[in-house]
Symmetry: C2
Subunit: 206 residues, 2 copies
Amino acid sequence: MGRPRKPLLSKERIYRAALDLVDERGEFTLPDLARRLGVSPSSIYHHVEGRSEIVNGMRSIISADVLADGQFPAGGGTWQEQAVRWARVYRNGLGQHAKAIPVLVGEAVTDDATLEIYERLAALLTDQGFPPRAVMVAVSILDNFVLGSAIDAASPDVPWVTRPPVHPALHEALSAADLSQHRSEAAFKAGVEALVDGLEGSRLEW
Amino acid sequence: MGRPRKPLLSKERIYRAALDLVDERGEFTLPDLARRLGVSPSSIYHHVEGRSEIVNGMRSIISADVLADGQFPAGGGTWQEQAVRWARVYRNGLGQHAKAIPVLVGEAVTDDATLEIYERLAALLTDQGFPPRAVMVAVSILDNFVLGSAIDAASPDVPWVTRPPVHPALHEALSAADLSQHRSEAAFKAGVEALVDGLEGSRLEW
């Protein structure tokens, strides 16, 4: 038998393999990545500079999918509706890679696609007259809520196993709720709308 | 040389070792855990029932530290101030284990300490007259923001590396911001206050 033909190593193949590993395991190491790709660790370093580039490469794959959504965040409506749509589309994209989120957040964003995502939100707010410092806080607030909501979207249908005598308020609230996706979706919707409405307050200056 | 004396295997040792692994790597496997503890995988199963118990054991260690904070969430003030304090103390505790968050969220909460954390918030809102469904949404909203903010607290001081001609709005906002901890802290403070203020709206019914 001849050796199986391997596709050539490339940045793209390295980024995709790293994202697959992180989706499965929540982290990647260079030896794991080399094993997955069937190459030596040193050959990976012929194509990429290091961990930071790989993490940004993984992120660019997710962000390209987000940007491919025609509704992001344009599509008409008030700026508040556009900001809510920004959060929704971004959360849906990240929600498919919930285990990757801490890895992604741990490295500064340098990839074009993700910078474009944040630039669109910053430009939307700048166009509304928000001063630069308020833009920074507002972007971070929506970003934080999106990250948390993306992780929550991957939680079990019944996220708390309560015992009524010990947790009466939580048990009653859970029992009243439409569970499965409804809890997570309702929280995302009400939360992002409250946050966007609150952005106009003066508290954004610090 | 005699064999080094090993501490007896216990639930507590297993939970702590799993939390250490997840803090380092974002995930744990049974073989990794056995190796870390210097035992066989099967001996771990003499002490714990499975992955779900281990994840809840890890979570109970974090939550016990949160509950040990005397300010949680009691300490006087309005219910809004108490809810903000709940979010702050919980975010600070989770922020020390940012890489563990997706693992924790992936398993239903069954441990006493974490259920107590959520029960306190649910009881605070129930006492204010929020109906049960609204309590469920409000708890989930604050939970999502806490999760995202805890992860954001572990982000680099300069989270975006912008190029001014391509990302003018984001670059201007970043340049105006007090960076390091200030961005993350300002976003947490303004965001959680906006969310708590927004909790009284009718949107919590769905």
